[in-house]
Symmetry: C2
Subunit: 420 residues, 2 copies
Amino acid sequence: MSKLKFQPVKGTRDFYPEDMAFRNWLFGKMREVSKKFGYQEYEGPILEPLELYAAKSGEELVKKQTFVLTDRGGRKLALRPEMTPTLARMVAQREAELPKPIRWFSIGPRFRYEQPQKGRLREFYQWDIDILGSEAPEADAEIIAVACEFLKSIGLISKEVKIKVNDRSLMEQKLSLIEVPKGKIQEVFKAVDKKEKMAEEEWDKWLKEIGLTSLQVKDLKGILKDRDFSRESEKLTRIFSTLSDLGVSDFVEFDPNVVRGLDYYTGIVFEARDVKSKFRAILGGGRYDNLVEVVGGPKIAGTGFAAGDVVIEEVLKEYKKTPKISFCPTRVLVTVFTEGFFRKSLEVATLLRRSNIETELYPDPASQLDKQLKYASQKEIPYVVILGPEEAESGKVTLKNMATGKQKTISINEVGRVIL
Amino acid sequence: MSKLKFQPVKGTRDFYPEDMAFRNWLFGKMREVSKKFGYQEYEGPILEPLELYAAKSGEELVKKQTFVLTDRGGRKLALRPEMTPTLARMVAQREAELPKPIRWFSIGPRFRYEQPQKGRLREFYQWDIDILGSEAPEADAEIIAVACEFLKSIGLISKEVKIKVNDRSLMEQKLSLIEVPKGKIQEVFKAVDKKEKMAEEEWDKWLKEIGLTSLQVKDLKGILKDRDFSRESEKLTRIFSTLSDLGVSDFVEFDPNVVRGLDYYTGIVFEARDVKSKFRAILGGGRYDNLVEVVGGPKIAGTGFAAGDVVIEEVLKEYKKTPKISFCPTRVLVTVFTEGFFRKSLEVATLLRRSNIETELYPDPASQLDKQLKYASQKEIPYVVILGPEEAESGKVTLKNMATGKQKTISINEVGRVIL
């Protein structure tokens, strides 16, 4: 075939029916778990004012990774790179009338101008789930439990993925103890967030540029290796205890290396990773107690996470957990024997649809029966109805089971019973 | 409340849970009808190369109404204003391996830079459904029947909405008969498409600018008033006959005024309108036998339509057909009696979720019971579980029906039976 005239844009995807079936399965699992915990679905615009992100999302996301367009009125618009600022804006807008706690989730497209690679695309989908209006660590625990239940529901087990939890305020205390000045803490968090992706030497250099001494760098590394100080945080203690009551403690662990990259997190942060650390975070989130206020609303505490579809797909492949999903909804193909039988076939197809059977009619009255049967077999349609002169005379149809090849002549009313 | 810092972008929407529930209901109906006829779901990128639309969508859509952005590599990208060019591109890409006929549908966001008004937004959703690989008028008839079944499924009747069908090639013949030169026909179609929105005088002037004489304008008006010449088209005759067999003829009628605005239509065109013509088209489509070829594939015939969510919502409101949809998934709220009972409540909530009951737990262990009950009633949660000292001692829970106010103390295992 000659080279195609139009290629899809780099970092975007075409979802052919088999891809879409996987996506629908995945989104279905996200919806199911969200609803099981009583979360309501919402959605916001894909186009948002650029300044909404400038407010708090962090410089990297806004300046380097956001798709920006200028509308014909000269306003700068962003293709939303993440959902939380939209959520905060929507909550701020109707704060007075929304019963608290607000338990909301959303699934939709996000856009980031990054170099496409394994697990990372420019146009991707995320599930966001949040609880607003509660400062209790039990709310964080619930959100983390939702994440665990989701991972279980897609077939992943705690030997394959772990949710690593940390508390930014605990880390701040630790950094104070090694005398990192308050003004440098955000910068140090940024460095901790990138540590895994950098050579040690390079990372040390960065910390020294921030202003840390060699001793402080050494102490910081000591803190990051320690897995044992979570009980110094009352919040973490309550969270791990609640998660144990929720029956998901095998999925969670304390990890001081997790601080997350977004600037708006104020306390608990967490992310799910494959245990081999082969992929980016499967999901990540945390507590953001100031964001609603920052976008112009009252102060409402919030906690939640986002899970991207691209990494999840990769992780499922890695652990051979990708489900086999049928992507043809059709239960039966009604064939057209010859042109003269088209009307009769049409009638049968209509009757079957009225009995709630997903039915395709072969649309070309002049096609050969062979070609029609081949079509059914290519599309893996389980049953075929044949309606020729004999059947027409007896008022019956021949129903062929495509898997076994067996066929029998029955009345139209019986078709539903056999197929369903 | 003070003015909010961030407003949503003009022409976009925030979908709060009640709005999202309507959207999910509507998309659910679209999916249901599509699958009933054996169509497979697909989806494409939201970002496409701008030139994909330049190919055939028509100047107005591309030059005036498309949101364009330049990526950091200098390429011009469009936020897709419609789906058919993406569909054609995807089919062209995998033509050899796709069994024909291809029956596909998709539901997703589209973007058009138009002046927002009743029934028209800049960011909206469309359902696209198409059949490719068949030139038979019976394929057009099926697509129109899908449209009728959809309208029925959302509660509209043939006294409220009609699908107006026409054949562009029949219109070409008619225009030839009044000696409109071939080269002017597309321009005349454009004028016919806009006729309804213009003053008669203004419209006459436009036609004269195109080059029509006063007599030709008069004759054209005669053609457009005539509802009786559809039998001159063999295609239309076969379509109306098939639609009658499909049991939907009350929804369809011939209308020479319908030519549709997109340049790629080659034959049958149709649109659904409210009978009062108060709104724009509810859905519109037609046959495009050259589009796959234009985007670089082989010649594959296609026919289909798109239905936008904004007009549908308006039409349902007009005819008082908007359904009342519950938008809180929660079946039961488990309250927390006092802090000491939190763990017990958590256990009950977890048990209920394991029995597939959508369960919310009040997340603040320190909240008053009154406040929790008020929350349940505001959110219209049907049942509340109360678990205090008496219940804990007897190993039971009190289940309160929020609609009747009645409550009884039962064992946890019985809760599911009462609620479901």
